[in-house]
Amino acid sequence: MNKKEMEPSREGVSPPVPRPVKLQAEGISMRFDDLAVLEGISFSLAEREFLCLLGPSGCGKSTLLRILSGLLLPVSGRVLLDGEEITGRTGKVSYMHQRDLLLPWKTVLDNVAVPLVLKGYGWKEAREKARAHLEAFGLKGFEAYYPSQLSGGMRQRVALLRTYLYRNDVMLLDEPFGALDAITRERLQEWLLGVVERLSTSVLLVTHDVDEAILLADRILVLSPRPGRVVAAHPVPFPRPRTREHLLTTDYLSLKANILEELRTWSR
Amino acid sequence: AGGRETPSLTPITVVLDWTVNTNHTGLYVALEKGYYREEGLDVSIITPPETGGVSLLLAGKARFAVSYQEEVTYARAAGRPVKAIATVIQHNTSGFAARVEEGIRTPKDFEGKTYGGWGSPIEEAVLKAVMAAYGADYSKVRNVTVGAVDFFAATEGEVDFMWIFEGWDGVAARLKGIPITYIPIAEIEPALDYYTPVLVTTDGYIEAHPEVVRAFLRATSRGYRFAIEHPDEAAEVLLSYAPELDPDLVRESQRYLAGQYARGAARWGEMKLEVWRRFADWLTRYGLLEGIFVPEEAFTNEFLP
């Protein structure tokens, strides 16, 4: 995961030509019995775009991701992929759940190999391919461990690697770095940016870390508290690669303050 | 019944050998008509576990039991102090039966047929003996175990002939309109004309309470004599205790048995030493009896009225 893996094309100001829309949410509303959770969510995710979703806890972010992935039918609204409706259809996008959801009965290696097996590889080949990634995720030496023997952050990394190996053009990631320390998180963020670049993936990432959002995103969506609505969409116009040091420039800081203020206002 | 009115009644439990059937009619008649109460006995009749009632008798949970000569013989040979005190029927009313289509008339015809048995070693010996007597070869019989499956069900399948009770299965066949051929066992091998069923108690009980045994048999004997004389009424008594039985079968069977209970005997219940000895010898001859069996000790007529 060295810097070379990142193409330099991403450096410079954000998209000069508008990219075609990949995934589109149209007026999605959701409720559980009496509880209104999402209200008229509309946005689009362009090709190769990195979109971050910020919002107060319980506002419906995970619910939105479940709807986008086709696991849940919204009360109203549609999900479009490449202009085709995929509401309620699964397998079109890859989705990393908020919980790690590892298989307790499979070792780390097998857990990671699962998506490859689902794609048609034999177990042997799948394991080999999966093994090649373990080192980058700091999981080397833990191939034969069962999930119950891992630390929280290690489990999250296994889950992230699994999601990556079942990659689609669109990746929905629900707090993929939540349980990771600053350094490991930095490395994996870099790695993720590299993936987006190399594989022309579009990413929708839920996070609670405003810094993380600013570091990674092309655009940041802010949701209101439940029922979640899109209350702001901030393009992040900073050049890449962005580093943590950049976080101290006034532009960064004002954007961050801005977003925090929005979150705060809405959370009243 | 009636225990409350006369507190001096002796409570007595009788355990049957099988489901309630016409072999037991005399007991129920004596109960119904109050013969037992007149003798100072408060009798209750219970049905046995699958493995028979003698174990209850031996454990002291019943004073009298319905058994059969074969069982008493084995019990005594195994050192169990069981003693027959009366035979319910004078002759063995069982035999081999087949549906008429099978064309079985004599044991010679068993050859090439399938026998459905309950899995007792005695059956094999009996078949060998009777077939040998008719110059037939037992090895040509296919002997399958059908266990508790009844004649009508078994002979729907591969089974051709079975060993049945004339007074029950035979009567049922007549009622169902299924013509059968029947070869009474007693006719083809005299040694097999043994007593079944018999009333039994234990040596110890006879010793301790001879008067109760005597009283019990007096009443029971009255019951059976009543059944001999009034088969239809006796059948209704039985049915009143076991209304689940098929009434037609009970009535028909009762009529048949009325003539069998005491056939050829001076009094109901009397047994002959010869019968006990003959059967035991036969068993020994076929290697079916281990242990020491003294026919004289196996039964007594002493308490019969």
């Binding site: - | 576990p49 949970k61 009844d150």
Partner: protein, 271 residues
């Protein structure tokens, strides 16, 4: 795939279909009435014999349900004790297995002698039959609790009883109900076996007498009663399982797993 079964339908339809085939087979003489009487004949006999069957049914229900309850309490109680004392468990587990492998036919005479010729012996058969699936499934359920939840309660110094009642027992409930379903299925049958082996009354006695007088239709009328009674007990257990586990109310096990509202797993075939 699923769709083709959609129309096949309910338990009701299956039952009716099955009865129709059976009736036809009987009428056409494919099955001898001595083995399997036609359903119509059975129903006729059932109606005719109802007054006679009712008291027998009462006796069977009494020992069947009573024995089931006693068996369940005994099974649950024993499971708790064995679970609390692992050494005791290792010692007694084989005995539990042994209790199930001695043919009842040989135990019953002992029961008759120890418990008499009344209700108790029959009850004991039912208890013997019912407690085992309960104890096995409860023990297995208790053994597969999330160890981290146990840790949490240990770290809160929760004591045996609270840990059991708040964590282990609810966690073992699905497994326990599996065992209860099996036991419930056996309960009425257990009573019938006991009656068969010797009892003053009950459906087993009725069957035995009908059987020995070759009244196959009556035997099957009694079987029908046994079957319906057993089904009622089993479905009561299923109902209890739904009531006892409200947190998974929508994932019923009789009608198959369904899921939360809006969830698509069961809607896959909708375009």
């Amino acid at each position: 795939m699923r769709r083709s079964w959609r129309s096949t339908g309910s338990p009701f339809l299956t039952t009716v279909g099955l009865l129709a085939v059976w009736e036809a087979a009987s009428r056409l003489g494919a099955v001898s009435p001595f083995l399997l009487p036609a359903p119509s004949a059975v129903v006729v006999e059932l109606v005719r014999q109802a007054p006679l069957l009712l008291p027998h049914l009462g006796a069977t229900l009494l020992s069947g349900l009573g024995g089931f309850l006693v068996g369940v309490f005994l099974g649950v109680g024993l499971a708790l004790v064995l679970d609390a004392f692992p050494r005791l468990r290792a010692s007694l587990y084989p005995l539990l297995v042994i209790s199930q492998t001695i043919p009842i036919i040989f135990l019953y005479p002992l029961f008759l002698i120890w418990f008499g010729y009344g209700l108790t012996s029959k009850l004991m058969v039912v208890v013997l039959v019912c407690f085992f699936p309960v104890i096995v499934s409860l023990l297995d359920g208790l053994a597969s609790v999330d160890p981290e939840l146990l840790d949490l309660f240990t770290s809160m110094r929760a004591g045996w009883w609270y840990t059991f009642w708040l964590v282990r027992f609810p966690s073992a409930l699905p497994s326990l109900f599996s065992g209860l379903t099996v036991s419930a299925t056996y309960s009425i049958m257990g009573a019938v076996i006991g009656e068969w082996l010797g009892a003053p009354r009950g459906l087993g006695v009725y069957m035995l007498r009908a059987y020995k007088t070759f009244s196959t239709a009556r035997v099957f009328a009694a079987i029908l009663v046994v079957v319906v009674a057993s089904l009622v007990v089993v479905y009561l257990v299923k109902l209890a399982s739904c009531l006892a586990m409200p947190w998974r109310a929508r994932r019923d096990t009789v009608t198959g797993p369904s899921r939360n509202a809006g969830d698509l797993t069961h809607m896959r075939s909708v375009p």
